[in-house]
Symmetry: D2
Subunit: 342 residues, 4 copies
């Protein structure tokens, strides 16, 4: 059975990544592509690497006839997303890739995003889209909120550890190294090749990154108490990839065991043998996440490192994975592409 | 129907790329992987990005039971390749990715490669693997010789022009820009990140690059007279991709028309609208080749630019395309992966 | 003796490069820095890598008291430059880094830049700033026009050959590979790291790049007849560096000899031994230009490759070299910084 | 007064960087260059970017006439270094860039480096070369041991904090991001451009990196008790630069104040205004180190980020700085080169 797909916000990187994945998906068919600022253009003009595909011309989202659509991916900027989604017809299944429906608490949303939520009712219904941990809810959901890419990486490293009581909750440090595509196709000086290549810097230092809202919500829910992690992202001269280095108190063997047990049957999450470390090189362009655990020379301290591709497993791959569940397809459909190395 | 595949030389980049492509191929199944220097190891140790695949352990090629193999890809260094291939059983279909069977003339081989050919009989039987131009012979061949990646790029730009008489034959200049993976996984100083990134240089200047043997052979055959092009490759700080800039005498419209006509029905070759130029960014990780034509301000001069991914369309993708033909599958099977951008 | 220096247009890359060079110049002192869009800011806010220097705050150019300035570098966009420069006081020596005074012929200017020149009188007086070829005029000039960075590279490769009659004039092809800093600190999509890294493309194909105006002017003047070269620039994933590959008809020995003779006493131009090829890696951050010559396998054809750093020898280094001459300093003062490798 | 300089181990990156810096040093003159594996070659063959310099030909170190040398830089691999240095004449001042004389305790040396020290007497005399903290001893020393580049970065971030009692000593975490030139010019698979670019990974995870020996020695000495930090380096796709992110318990204002006070008069160490973060982009190719402090959202937690160029301030620049002191020159002589950006 073929599912009819629309993408709103098709002119950004996550939009392009959705199309890349759907291009070889066995049962998804793209019926409409919207990007209001580029409406009227061919996708090949916006993303020439998609030239070989027979894609519909870009339109405004208002022009889409949603009667012929089963599921819509929304890859709009936050705030715009909630405005658009609240106007979409009721029958439509929606996977939102923005930040708008990740936080369940309107106050938390307002605190992290600086504005009141315009669709609080939908906010309550939305299911948090970290597939491996919300599978059943996602399968039944109308609206799934894709997670932050940093938030996904950190949670893959830490959720099973918090759930298993394998680590201390008061001294978790997450140091992230992020590729630049996570910042989107935005014209900012620090994203220019001349400014970004050949160097690195931290950003959003001190606990100001919005993905902390997701960590707070999720980790506290698992632990049954408030958990606050320290989280510093760094911008690296690479396009794709997030490497999360988590410093935790706990026995390395216990930590490794908890992760291995949690992900034993997961098709996309691979826990490496004890002491091995993953690399973003080895997941690029794929929906896989590699996780490694090593004990520190300081007793009772462990390092957990998780690697994934922010555009795929961290965003559009996750979105397709969720759409598969929502549409009754195999969860892995269209997502077994091997990483592109070198 | 599932075809049983072996790969000899699986520890290099073209070997890894074959596995990446076959991983999502609908009817190929990898039954044996050989890499004599790494025999006994798991592929995940050699290429961790293939960790998620259930692959046979690496063996020596002599250990393979070829009775259970339908087609063998050979990704060995040149010279070694001819020695191994001449010992393979007769029933086996072979796609060779080395340089050993590209030149039909033993003297030309000896001149470019510096040694006498050790399997001249097979050399005569081998079909040159530029799929779009040798389709019928490839479908019937036992042994197909994959082309040089530079040689493929230049030929996609120029063959239809020579065939159509659209350009002068005595002043063709090919200036190539090549990613580093074409040099293989070799421990050479100039391939180190610290030496290669952030700069560029020409190499094999003056008509000494071995792929010239292929240009000479093929262009002369098409033209029915000797054709000698000037060809300078440049090493660029990027992993994948070849951009060939061809300077030719001829009318741009005629040139564009000849290419558009030749590739009108080709699934992997895309001729851009007149005056547009391709980019290696837009074919990375895919089997597509984009070609653009522009007239120069100097009357009667045109520039043809072709872009492809050296590991895919220039090597392993071409090899799978040829294997599809040899095994009676759809030529595009497993090869419609969209480029990975950004 | 200390010379008092002003820089107008200090917030761009060529402005920053001027400051980098002047920072260790023995007799230049920066007295004023202008950047109208950033007036009021500290340089450390605009270019944090200059934080250690004790620099004047940015002002508008109109605020500068030129009474206390001996020489002014102008690093403004073209067109703006002519408007500003025509208002500067008469006593002031000026090195302009824009394109505004490179072409001596107002019609040629209008043709390549699309507008009539607003200061045709100054246009006539300006000296073309290719130091090695205009030394005496530069030493006496009030206004020196810095060359295009591509134009400089191509001319270093070709001027002595045209002057010596060592090559044919009707089939010169210049294929350039350019780092991205040549495009300036501009917010354009194709200059983003995510769009530019890991790939390459040609641009301004077909003889439309404005630096052709300089080639036409200079080569025709040397040859005493009209000379039109074919010139295609390519954008590479690197920040600094231009590699010019020139394809010429001529005997390689004669070509090499003409270059070696012309540059024998030049401190910044190094002709490599016959058959060796330069690399932009080896001139990065310096004022040097390396040039190599190789004969092609096709008799009577040679390849000349020239490498320089577009921001230094191609722009700000050249500007300081010219300023040294204009102010009676040693031509090499402040410019003997070794390249920064790796 | 001109000081006569020799460099042993001139064919590696730190050797080349020494030459780059000495090239514009006002009072150092290179009299001998040794590299036993390349003896007999010109430096231009080993490092073409030094082609413009009039340098002595490479010899073996045994061939050097040390009678005519005032100071010798030793840039050999560890273990080789102690063997060579113990044979050098007594009058010679020595700056060693290897790891051989960094640890004062022979047992600690044996533990971290896996072999007994072959020159324990010299080991005792050697002064630890972190200039800003050992100035007086360095000025009087015969043998100065250059620090590890990671060790330098971490110490610049943390020494004043430990000394001032501004932070807790039992939960210090150092997460480092390192450019690849720190690994030297070694032919290793993971240092190839194709393997390293476009991705990142941690290495020496779990407290196994040898620079921990330096942290242990120095931090414990300052604190007057044993201090053990947790330290994880990461390899980044960039050539130069180390970014150290230190997670500490302590009040951000106190932390910032302690650093600002300690470095108020330092020419090369710049503490940014509270809340600003440094970037390796802004110190590339220079001897500067930028340090930023930010308080975390979690009370009593701060993040200190330090950025330097591993080849300059982390190694060869530090070595020249020390040599300046040992030879009675201004500490900053030859070292005020501005960073090379972009």
């Amino acid at each position: 059975m073929t599912h009819r797909i629309a993408i709103i916000g098709a002119s950004g990187y996550t939009g392009a990544e959705l199309i890349r994945l759907i291009a070889t998906h066995p049962s998804f068919e793209i019926r409409a592509l919207a990007a209001n600022s580029r409406a009227g253009q061919e996708m090949a003009a916006v993303f020439p690497h998609l030239r070989h595909l027979d894609l519909p011309k870009l339109v405004t989202w208002e022009e889409i006839d949603f009667g012929g659509i089963d599921l819509c991916f929304c890859a709009l900027p936050h705030k715009t997303s909630q405005e658009v989604i609240s106007q979409l017809p009721e029958h439509l299944k929606i996977v939102d890739l923005s930040a708008d429906f990740r936080l369940r608490d309107p106050e938390a949303y307002a605190q992290w995003y600086g504005n009141a939520h315009a669709a609080t009712q939908m906010q309550k219904e939305a299911v948090y889209g970290l597939t491996e941990f919300y599978r059943e809810e996602i399968a039944l959901a109308r609206l799934v909120a894709g997670t932050g890419c940093n938030a996904a990486t950190g949670q893959f490293a830490l959720r099973p550890l918090i759930a298993a009581g394998a680590i201390g909750l008061d001294d978790i440090i997450l140091d992230l190294k992020c590729g630049v595509s996570g910042a989107g196709r935005s014209l900012k000086e620090n994203l220019l090749h001349a400014e970004l290549s050949e160097g690195t810097n931290a950003y959003a230092v001190g606990g100001t990154h919005r993905h902390l809202g997701e960590f707070d919500q999720e980790f506290s829910a698992i632990a049954g108490r408030e958990v606050r992690v320290q989280f510093t992202p760094h911008l690296l001269p690479m396009n794709r990839g997030i490497l999360a280095t988590a410093y935790v108190s706990g026995e390395a063997e216990t930590v490794h065991g908890a992760l291995a047990a949690a992900y034993a049957d997961e098709p996309f999450l691979h826990v490496l043998p004890m002491g091995e470390t993953p690399s973003t090189h080895h997941v690029r362009g794929s929906n896989f996440c590699h996780i490694g655990v090593t004990g520190d020379r300081i007793g009772g301290r462990a390092i957990v490192v998780a690697a994934l591709d922010n555009l795929t497993k961290g965003s559009s791959g996750q979105a397709v994975q969720n759409a598969n569940l929502m549409l009754g397809e195999a969860e892995t459909a269209g997502l077994m592409l091997a990483p592109c190395f070198p």
